[in-house]
């Protein structure tokens, strides 16, 4: 069927992934010398070729997939490492090979189209947007590296390979957020994103460990095959047998603390996975990094922080849908956090003035929708929103970038050039940007028949109609009896749906406010003077001097951006309008995407329960969506355009504290600052004080003092007078001479207690002669015999031996040696005690070693 690229060895995947890496390498290493034209060519061609290969892959997949059988193409690199998992129930310890393998199926095939396609458009856009930047080649090297990492993430055939891409996109995100690192705020934003993501990565690592333990596999197929073993109950509390110190509490409290608690393995794995997903996809409570990430260049915000990287969390949940559906508790958590994030971020977006900040909070909110969809088991609906969101949010960000680009003609200050209070009336100056921005606006607010309308409605519809039940009989069979698994509360769907609808109303409001703020009303950036000319001298230095005194600016009419920037806008705008047709069930019964993804999620459908007669609810549930869109957009239209923003100001002054709270983003950053960062800082302060007092003070100073004192003492000896040194040599020589002249009767003893044999050996010396004699013997003549052997027959006995030494000068020294044969150590040996009554009537015990014991 596919002669060049067989399904089992689909080498094209390697090409798709490697091309952006080559681009990143060339641009990163040689970019500075190559020049801008060559860098542009390299970056665009590598991503472009990768896009073409992705398109080919996509159609090959379409041709291969049938309704029953999911198509999946593999490319296997090499074995990366091998883990061993625990011994399974069959008694065989299994190896878990981790292969560097990639695979593509309907889900990832669609993702790579978005990554390379939207990526290509944004690369093209960036060639113009970043034209003036000194780090042009560096920017494209990072951007290409990002595309590479994202492709690894999506195409990886196992969690570890996905994790490599996951970390890769994290690094690229860090590098690109802090791209203009000369400003501290940008570098700090990059760091914040990186650290917040680390918390999520911890969850992902834990999930991998759990999967190795419970499933014995980390690749998608292996996890799917072993997912039944995830239904087993796991005791997660107390760790060990009891809670330490619980006994000190009152008995009821101690019992409550010590009561064992169980969850299914799937719940633990899913929650750990979701922690990872929440970090990457900016969900509560880890979302704080994403708004700050807008410090990076706008194309980066569009590509990484709207269209692709932040959807990696949803991709992960969808990819492991088979694990998630096994745990109603985890699914409910995902849905609830998703809905809460959607609502929470939308409230913040209501009052922000920085247009990129509005879009950032909007992204957090939309990501919340996607998790709501995934959480209620509507994986394809969640993924549908990923798709449409990639189009319309990329379009919005690029449109915002286009506006900022125009604003930069006269306002070079980043903060001011992104503030919608300085904009207005851009509709007349930038018609293409305006048209595409409005198209994307329509999509995100749910303007009927546009893409976002269908995808958002699909999620809300599923939130109301679908829930998740535990697999099997819905019970956990623990070691302590059968307990019920978590059951979704009956209010769940209604509440989730309600939160989603309210968030949709807020979305309509703040997006309409954004569009009006940028494009309608009168232009407030500077006074437009026809045929205005740039004054002589360095424009930047000039501008900054002017900003300081807030002098009224004059300048030319804002210009529409060049074609490299408008073309991506037009393409994305068109996609935002029409992409909804892929899955427009509610009105047109179009199921293209659902059908396409169905085989991927087939195994994840088991636990999903739909309300009765759900199809009939499709149209009634559509009505609130339209109503809230009209309501939100209408109120914003009235407030900001018809009444010129007066009602908004009144509202803000009526509830100044609430307004300030929203404007300060609920002060979550400040909360983190006070609690977590404060705690870490205190710890650091403590460590610094410890270093200062104990390490520097005690250890270093004390050591130095000791060395100095001993040095001072020794210095007294060094007089510098040659005679003193010579005298000390003479004294030493005399001592040495005396030692040699005097004889020394020293001997060493070699013991053998077991046999009772002992050998005494006398030390040698100049002209030494020896004589030995035991106690009671007569001394003999001196001789050359320097060893003396003696035998002691009975343990415990002692013998005395005398050694006399005569040296060359005839002087004699004598010493007596006492040799004692030690009794054998019988402690620890088996003994018998014979107890009997003696003649005197007293009890007595005789101890004797048992037969066979050594004497």
């Amino acid at each position: 069927m596919n002669p060049i690229f067989p399904a089992g060895d689909f080498t094209l995947l390697a090409i798709i992934i490697a091309l952006p890496l080559v681009g990143a390498f060339v641009n990163g290493v040689f970019g500075k010398r190559l020049g801008k034209e060559a860098v542009t060519l390299m970056a665009l061609s590598s991503v472009g070729a990768s896009f073409l290969a992705s398109v080919y892959t996509f159609f090959a997949l379409r041709a291969a997939q049938t309704a029953e059988q999911a198509a999946r193409f593999h490319w296997h690199g090499w074995e990366w490492m091998r883990l061993s998992s625990r011994t399974d129930a069959m008694g065989a310890g299994s190896n878990v090979p981790i292969e560097l393998a990639f695979s593509v199926d309907a889900l990832s095939g669609t993702m790579i189209l978005v990554i390379t396609g939207v990526g290509l458009l944004i690369h093209l856009y960036s060639t113009q947007y970043m034209r003036q930047d000194e780090g042009y080649h560096r920017f494209f090297a990072y951007l290409n590296l990002f595309v590479f990492s994202m492709l690894v993430l999506v195409l990886g055939d196992s969690l570890p390979v996905l994790f490599v891409g996951w970390e890769g996109v994290g690094v690229c995100s860090y590098l690109l957020i802090g791209f203009w690192f000369h400003e501290d705020a940008n570098a700090a934003a990059g760091k914040k994103a990186f650290i917040a993501n680390r918390i999520g990565d911890f969850g992902l690592l834990v999930a991998m460990g759990l999967l190795v333990y419970y499933c014995g596999a980390l690749d998608w197929k292996g996890i799917e095959a072993a997912s039944s073993s995830l239904a087993q109950p796991v005791k997660y509390w107390p760790i060990g047998t009891h809670v330490p110190l619980a006994a000190a509490l009152p008995e009821s409290a101690a019992n409550w603390l010590n009561a064992p608690r169980y969850a299914s393995a799937a719940t633990l794995v899913s929650l750990a996975l979701f922690l990872g997903a929440a970090g990457k996809s900016a969900q509560l409570p880890l979302y704080v990094w994403l708004p700050d990430a807008m410090a990076g260049p706008t194309p980066v915000s569009a590509l990484i922080h709207a269209a692709t990287m932040v959807t990696a969390g949803i991709y992960l949940c969808a990819r492991l849908a088979g694990v998630f559906v096994l745990s109603p508790a985890a699914m409910f958590t995902v849905a609830l956090i998703g809905a809460a994030t959607a609502l929470f971020a939308a409230t913040i977006a209501l009052v922000q003035n920085d247009i990129k900040k509005v879009l950032a909070y909007s992204t957090v909110s939309q990501l919340g929708y996607m998790f709501l969809g995934v959480g209620v088991g509507a994986f394809s609906a969640g993924f549908f929103h990923v798709l449409t969101h990639a189009f319309f949010k990329a379009c919005l960000f690029l449109g915002a970038g286009s506006v900022i680009y125009a604003m930069h003609a006269r306002i070079h200050d980043t903060e001011r050039s992104q503030d919608m209070r300085h904009m207005g009336g851009m509709r007349a100056f930038m018609p293409i940007t305006f048209a595409t921005f409005v198209a994307a606006w329509g999509a995100i607010v749910g303007f009927p028949l546009l893409s976002g309308f269908f995808s958002k409605d699909e999620i809300l519809f599923k939130a109301y109609t679908s829930s998740v039940v535990a697999p099997g009989d819905g019970k956990l069979h623990t070691a302590r009896g059968v307990i019920d698994a978590f059951v979704w509360p009956s209010w769940g769907p209604t509440v989730l749906y309600g939160m989603g609808v309210v968030a949709a109303a807020l979305t309509a409001f703040y997006m309409t406010r954004l569009v009006i703020g940028i494009f309608f009303g009168s232009f407030k950036g500077w006074t437009v003077v026809p045929h205005w000319k740039e004054p002589e001298g360095d424009p930047h230095a000039h501008e900054h001097a002017h900003h300081a005194v807030e002098e009224a600016l004059e300048g030319p009419a804002p210009k529409e951006s060049p074609w490299q920037m408008t073309l991506p806008l037009v393409v994305l705008g068109l996609l935002s309008v029409f992409a909804g047709a892929l899955n427009a069930h509610a009105l047109f019964h179009s199921h293209v995407l659902d059908t396409w993804l169905e085989p991927v999620f087939a195994h994840a459908q088991s636990g999903i329960k739909l309300v009765e007669n759900e199809e009939a609810l499709a149209i009634p549930l559509l009505i609130p969506s339209v109503v809230v869109f009209l309501l939100g957009a209408g109120v914003a239209y009235w407030m900001y355009l018809m009444a010129g923003g007066e009602p908004a100001r009144k509202l803000a002054s009526a509830a100044p504290r609430l307004y300030q709270l929203l404007y300060d983003k609920w002060r979550v950053d400040e909360l983190y600052e006070e609690t977590i960062i404060g705690a870490v800082d205190s710890l650091a302060d403590f460590a610094a004080a410890f270093d200062r007092i104990v390490v520097d003070g005690v250890l270093a100073r004390l050591t130095a003092l000791l060395v100095r004192a001993s040095g001072g003492l020794l210095r007294l000896l060094q007089t510098g007078r040659v005679h003193v040194y010579a005298l000390s040599m003479v004294v030493g020589l005399g001592g040495l001479g005396w030692f040699f002249v005097a004889p020394h009767a020293t001997a060493s003893l070699e013991r053998n207690d077991g046999a009772g044999a002992y050998v005494l050996t006398a030390a040698p010396g100049l002209g030494y002669q020896y004589r030995w004699y035991a106690e009671g013997e007569q001394p003999q003549d001196f001789g050359q015999q320097h060893t003396y052997e003696l035998t002691i027959d009975k343990a415990g006995d002692t013998r005395k031996v005398k050694l006399e030494v005569k040296n060359a000068f005839g002087r004699v020294d004598a010493k007596e040696y006492v040799v004692n044969r030690a009794k054998p150590d019988l402690s620890g040996l088996p003994l018998t005690i014979d107890v009997g009554q003696g003649a005197d009537g007293q009890l007595r015990g005789d101890v004797r070693p048992q037969p066979g014991a050594p004497q």
Binding site: Q718, T719, G720, R721, V722, H723, A726, L727, V730
Partner: protein, 105 residues
């Protein structure tokens, strides 16, 4: 066996006297050249003792060979010592050993 007989003790006495003269000379005099000569006295006293012992006790020529070694080493030592004294004189314009006290600082 003992060709020198009691005479060995005389040799040893002479050697010891010369050695002590060397030691005292080295310690008592301040002139570096005289100190160098005292060192030579000590070395030659040792040579004398070695040769005498070898003659009295030795079945081989070890002691006398050893004396030759000492003579060779002493020659080298004198060469180095005189060079040091020469440089020392150039530096300090004196040959007084007490002037060589920079090690103290």
């Amino acid at each position: 066996m003992n060709m020198l007989g009691k005479v060995l003790e005389h040799y040893q006495l002479v050697a010891s006297v010369i050695f002590v003269i060397g030691v005292v000379g080295f310690l008592a005099r301040r002139n570096v050249l005289v100190q160098l000569m005292s060192i030579e006295l000590m070395l030659n006293a040792v040579n004398l003792a070695l040769v005498a012992f070898n003659r009295a006790h030795g079945e081989d020529m070890n002691g006398q060979v050893f004396a030759f070694f000492i003579i060779a080493v002493a020659a080298a030592e004198v060469a180095v010592g005189l060079a040091i004294i020469l440089n020392f004189f150039r530096l300090r314009s004196t040959v007084d050993a007490d002037a060589a006290d920079s090690l103290k600082h």
